[in-house]
Assembly symmetry: C2
Homo-oligomer: 321 residues x 2
DNA sequence: TCCGCTTATATTCCGGCTGACAATAAACCG
DNA sequence: CGGTTTATTGTCAGCCGGAATATAAGCGGA
């Protein structure tokens, strides 16, 4: 196909393709009181979002506009997550294709001026099985038999083994290690096993909510899972945690924040060693007395590392236990 | 803002947003004769692409359709790369927004039936500074003074230092290690420094082509750089190389393939150790005599690892030298 | 046939990073 | 002033990754 032909073909279907709508949607994350939170809007839980319009200078600025409009505060750090094509839906009698471009945004919770309809909720309200800071959560123990039952329900022996193994890997059964990065796989597995409400034809709050977590509108919980997985992966090799910190913080604050995101505890001395030897932070000279015991030194992020290490390094001690 | 209001707002701008066109675009990669290649179409170098249409079942299937139509062969492994919003352009007198959803596809070169207008080109025709398998390439030595001159041309001392440092990190100046994953940053730096043709107002093949590489249509070279960076990063923790291998291969074949992608050499015994201890492959029982010396055992990929390790592990020995 | 060439395969050594644990320091509280 | 709490420093063994070395198995020509 010649360039000419390609161009004609593109022009044709640009005309046909008018019924494609492009949405921008944000997972806005923060940590407060050692709980990782996400910003939602509306009566039913929705992620802030809005259509991409001609007036937007770029995808990112369009997203910033929408979130600022819906929550009253500009965003700082954002990165693209994934682009989904939703199921078809009918608007004004015509078939309508909907594309969602999702972003992950990091901010400090107190940096958001609350509006009437936006609010923060803990990640773990939506994913109760994801928080392993106090050992394996109850939700996980309750899910296990259901997942095993689902695996048993497969057609043939091979499919049963395959389901069994997928569940074991994702959820750490059979003495496999818990891998906090598999948040998305876990959610998709539960969806496939019809153990989350969104999988039901008519979503309604049920008694199972405490087991399978709070639901969100449409596929928003899936997008949130994507964001959590991305963030849990990224904190291990990029200094993004600091987007969630106040200007000055103690090393324990920093550690608790990372633990909140990862949903697991980490070794204190080792954490300190890693942070210090990478020169991610510098002392402010002040100390914090809030802790009850010996006062902790306050640190601030060395913004210079963003230039120095650029993209490499910056590991946090989060491997399999 | 209430759900109701959100819905109305979305409906409104869906009506206004009709002039948004969505393109699917593919970086199709393969390795042959130890050269990493990309599939291009058209007279001028373009990546295979086409608009997303209502008839497509999903983004992925739309992409598969276009590539199959333009190159005559179905794709295997694909993964999403990034979504760009191009600059505005005018079609039929109306402002037109163009969104490109890019994908990375992996295949064996001989698995593509060549059509009249599609062809393979080495990555390193487009990015001559990226191949470090025979030491630092000539293009890199030639670019260095120009980059330093660009750094010197900044307004003030701080900006000069910042440019200097960015260039040093990206290209490994001042005894910094070469980091093969920074392909995209390097291209963007060269673009900013106006050292690649796309940055010029009217792109024309010039004598500098050997220095700054072959150009592509529009921003396609940038998308290719994104794909290369993603692949170079991904081979280190997922067994995706095998998508590029024939069913049976020697360990040296596998190593040379990884080296071609990474653009750097790796230590042979260490490579073997890593591949074997992860049980990524199993012997076929046959041997290959093509090599001239002692016959090499042939191996095949253990597809079971896709279920076992799922997402974790699978590291390849490619850290900073 | 034997020697040298080429490539494949196996083994060893070493340094650094990581995880687990222990010890000391500095505040507060009664 | 002793007990409690938290911060901070130190130690040690195991593993992993990188480099170098040694051995094996073909081929081809002298």
């Amino acid at each position: 196909m010649h360039d000419q032909a390609v161009r004609i073909k593109k022009a044709n279907s640009a005309r046909k393709g008018r019924d494609i709508n492009v949405d921008l949607i944000a997972v806005v994350a923060a940590v407060s009181d050692w709980e990782p939170c996400v910003l939602t809007v509306g009566q039913r839980d929705s992620l802030p979002s809005g259509p991409f319009e001609l007036s937007h200078r770029s995808l990112q600025s369009g997203l910033r506009d929408w979130v600022e409009q819906q929550t009253g505060h500009p965003l700082g750090y954002i990165e693209q997550l994934y682009t989904f094509a939703d199921r078809d839906r009918i608007i004004a009698g015509r078939e309508q294709r909907n594309i969602s471009i999702s972003y992950l945004a990091l901010t400090r919770q107190d940096a958001i001026r609350m509006s009437r309809t936006s609010r923060w909720s803990s990640w773990y309200d939506y994913f109760p099985w994801e928080d392993h800071r106090s050992g394996a959560p109850a939700a996980l123990r309750l899910l296990r038999p259901r997942l095993l039952a689902w695996a048993k329900g497969a057609d043939n022996a091979a499919a049963r083994r395959e389901r069994r193994q997928r569940a074991a890997i994702a959820f750490g059964f059979d003495d496999r290690p818990w891998n906090e990065e598999l948040t998305l796989q876990r959610y998709e597995l539960l969806y496939e096993a019809a153990l989350v409400e969104e999988a039901a034809a008519d979503p309604k709050p049920s008694a199972a909510a405490s087991l399978s977590g709070r639901t969100m509108v449409a596929d928003h919980r899936r997008i949130l899972a994507t964001g959590i997985a991305r963030l849990r992966s990224k904190i291990k090799y990029r200094p993004v945690v600091f987007e969630l910190m106040r200007p000055a913080f103690t090393l324990l604050h920093l550690q608790r924040t990372v633990e909140a995101l990862a949903g697991r505890l980490i070794n204190k001395p080792n954490f300190r060693r890693l942070v210090e030897q990478q020169e991610l932070v510098e002392e402010t000279g002040e100390t914090s007395l809030d802790t009850g015991g010996r006062p902790a030194k306050l640190y601030r992020f060395r913004h210079a590392v963003l230039d120095e290490q650029a993209v490499v390094g910056t590991k946090l001690p989060l491997s399999r236990a």
